[in-house]
């Protein structure tokens, strides 16, 4: 399938913690999107996805896939944007009062 975006990264969930993780250049999984390897060639991206799927086989991650991103490391699709940046909920008054306590 052709890449829809100029750049992609590979995203997955860490098996042990469930947290969102990103495939790095040296084929590790990092929980920080800034460590993600930027993939701009379709063939290369697909070969990296094969590497990522082997991570799934090695019981490190679940469900790796390619996500198209914009130059500012923001995903173009809202679902993926929220996956990358976490819940958008602000103003959590309840957490606020406990922190103040």
């Amino acid at each position: 399938m052709p890449l829809k975006h100029s750049q992609s990264i590979i995203i997955a969930n860490d098996l042990r913690t469930g947290r969102t993780v990103y495939l790095t250049e040296d084929s590790r999984w990092s929980d920080s999107v800034v460590d993600a390897e930027l993939l701009d060639q379709q063939d290369y991206a697909e070969s990296r996805l094969v590497t990522a799927l082997s991570g799934e086989g090695a019981n490190l991650v679940i469900d790796p896939y390619l996500v198209g991103i914009e130059p500012d490391l923001c995903a173009s699709n809202i679902r993926e944007r929220i996956r990358l940046s976490g819940p958008t909920i602000i103003n959590n008054a309840r957490v606020g009062i406990d922190q103040a306590a």
Partner: protein
């Protein structure tokens, strides 16, 4: 409140040990994710957008203080210091780790709790009236039957792989606070002419992409026949329910495709032919459950003197809270106190560990050690002495849980939506926050009566938007969140499905549209008319005109 016997306890302990072994095998790679996924789901462990999510069962929404305190501990020890109460009267933790989940299940088992059957195509947590056993208008206390059904449906070998998930709700009052008509099976307990309890069975209600109001399936079933009759319904559904298309697999579709009469005949034939041996002791079982349940000792609490507002000092905030959040109890001198988890601009259904812990203590002090979760994502202290109310209210103010908005438009049901849920098409929590922040001021100025606003983040309708007076459904249109509004739904004894109002709007517009709908209702309502009554009287077009300016 029911207390586990040895068998109940061994079931939850064994299940926890079994899951620990399954997790170990998964981490060691001896089972794949495809093999593990159904096993973790059977224990309530989902994988969501950012993390695993653990859904813990709160059978029919009843919690002891000790259980609530344990949930607070779990929130602190394994999660991020809060929990999310759901429309199935359960609690969800949004950030547990797989490697710690077996420890969580052990902690839960220690207080007679578990996460069994909170997911999967099985009979899910049974829900009921959050005022069960306390409501002044109650005809029959539904809790013993709820517990009987919990025990019957837990690990029932025939019903572990149904065509689809299956939901029961039970009420023992004419005023339906359990939304029984939008469940796969809804049970209405009432007293027969000889004062013995009878059950009316409603079948085929549900929400999701094909919302349906249940149909009256069988009237006046005696308690001794109820379990075999329900078993017969489940068997017929299990046999004929569609497995080729998950969107057509619920019993509501089987009912629509088969027809009421034919389905009744099939169930009747099954009922007549099934082996009644396992059910001969139903009355004794109900008796055992009742005997194993702690009942509040109302008299002993009558002596507890607490700080009271005797009326000499005016307290408008307390009076407003009492007016809105306190409901009549069946025992003289007692009331039911509702605790809103809907602060203006807050996250519907969320409570911090500190709030949960404090509430557990308040329940010890003021509510015979008991709490309830409502399907509208609020909490209840079901047995409070009226003279303790002022002290209770003061304590709730301290922990910011004294919002006086029960059943008002800011008492919004919202599902986790796209901020957490892997199935979501749009966010719901930030929309709920914006709506409640906007509408709260109007509520304080104008008597709006009861108006339900429910917001779902996808067509699965976990927030019950179809049966809200004002329903909001979040969709994704070309990569952009878009919100469809419905009006005229109800989830009570006169349940009805709301009608789509018009074109979808952006998230930013939702609070304004809702405000205009409410303003229009206030302008045109007749005395005593609810929003849905007004909608039924004037029809969709005037509301539509007002909403889309």
């Amino acid at each position: 409140m029911y207390q586990y016997d040895q068998l109940d306890q061994s079931i939850v302990e064994q299940r926890s040990a079994e899951f620990r072994a399954q997790v170990e095998r998964r981490l060691a790679g001896s089972i794949s994710e495809a093999e593990f996924k159904p096993l973790r789901l059977m224990n309530g462990l989902y994988l969501q957008l950012h993390a695993y999510m653990l859904r813990v069962a709160i059978p029919y929404g009843v919690l002891s203080s000790k259980q609530m305190a344990k949930l607070a501990d779990i929130a602190d020890k394994y999660d991020r210091g809060y929990g999310h109460f759901t429309t199935r009267q359960n609690i969800q933790f949004n950030w547990p780790k797989l490697i710690e989940t077996p420890d969580i299940l052990d902690d839960l088992a220690g207080v007679q709790m578990h996460a069994i059957q909170t997911s999967g195509n099985c009979i899910r947590n049974i829900t009921t009236d959050p005022f069960a056993g306390a409501a002044a208008d109650e005809e029959v206390d539904p809790r013993p039957l709820c517990e009987l059904l919990r025990q019957w449906s837990t690990l029932h070998p025939e019903f572990a792989y149904l065509p689809r998930k299956f939901k029961f709700a039970i009420t023992g009052s004419a005023i339906d606070r359990a939304a029984i008509k939008v469940h796969d099976i809804g049970l209405r307990l009432r007293k027969g002419s000889d004062n013995r309890p009878l059950t009316d069975i409603w079948v085929g209600g549900g929400q999701g992409r094909t919302p349906k109001v249940a149909q009256l399936f069988k009237q006046g079933v005696a308690l001794e026949d109820l379990l075999p009759y329900l078993e017969a319904i489940m068997r017929v559904y299990n046999r004929y329910g569609r497995r080729d298309n998950k969107y057509k697999a619920r019993i509501k579709i089987l009912l629509a495709e088969t027809g009421l009469e034919k389905l009744q005949e099939q169930v009747e034939a099954e009922f007549q032919s099934l082996d009644r041996t396992p059910f001969v002791n139903v009355a004794a079982e109900l008796q055992r459950i009742t005997e194993n349940s702690l009942t509040p000792d109302y008299a002993s609490h009558n002596e507890s003197g607490e700080l009271t507002n005797n009326g000499s000092v005016p307290h408008p905030e307390f009076d407003a809270w009492k007016q809105q959040n306190v409901k009549p109890h069946k025992v003289r001198g007692y009331v039911i106190a509702m605790v809103s988890l809907k602060p203006a601009g807050g996250i519907p259904g969320d409570a911090t560990s500190r709030q949960m812990r404090e509430l557990a203590e308040l329940a010890v002090r003021y509510s015979h050690d008991e709490l309830r979760v409502t399907h509208r994502q609020n909490l209840v202290l079901p047995h409070v002495l009226e003279r303790d109310l002022f002290a209770l209210w003061q304590a709730l103010v301290e922990i910011e849980l004294a919002e006086d908005n029960i059943d008002l438009p800011s008492d919004i049901i919202a599902c986790p939506g796209l901020d957490y849920c892997a199935l979501a098409t749009a966010r719901s929590i930030p929309i709920a926050q914006a709506v409640s922040a906007k509408i709260r001021a109007t509520e304080k100025k104008t008597d709006l009566g009861g108006i339900s606003v429910n917001i779902s983040g996808c067509i699965n309708a976990c927030a019950h938007h179809h049966v809200a007076n004002i329903g909001v459904l979040g969709l994704n249109k070309g990569g952009v969140e878009n919100y469809q509004l419905t009006l005229g739904g109800r989830n009570d004894q006169n349940a009805s499905i709301g009608e789509r109002l018009g074109p979808g709007v952006s998230g930013d517009e939702v609070p304004h549209v809702i405000e205009r709908i409410i303003d229009f209702y206030v302008d045109v309502r007749d005395a005593g008319e609810s929003l849905s009554d007004t909608y039924d009287r004037v029809g969709k077009e005037p509301f539509k005109e007002a909403a889309y300016v």
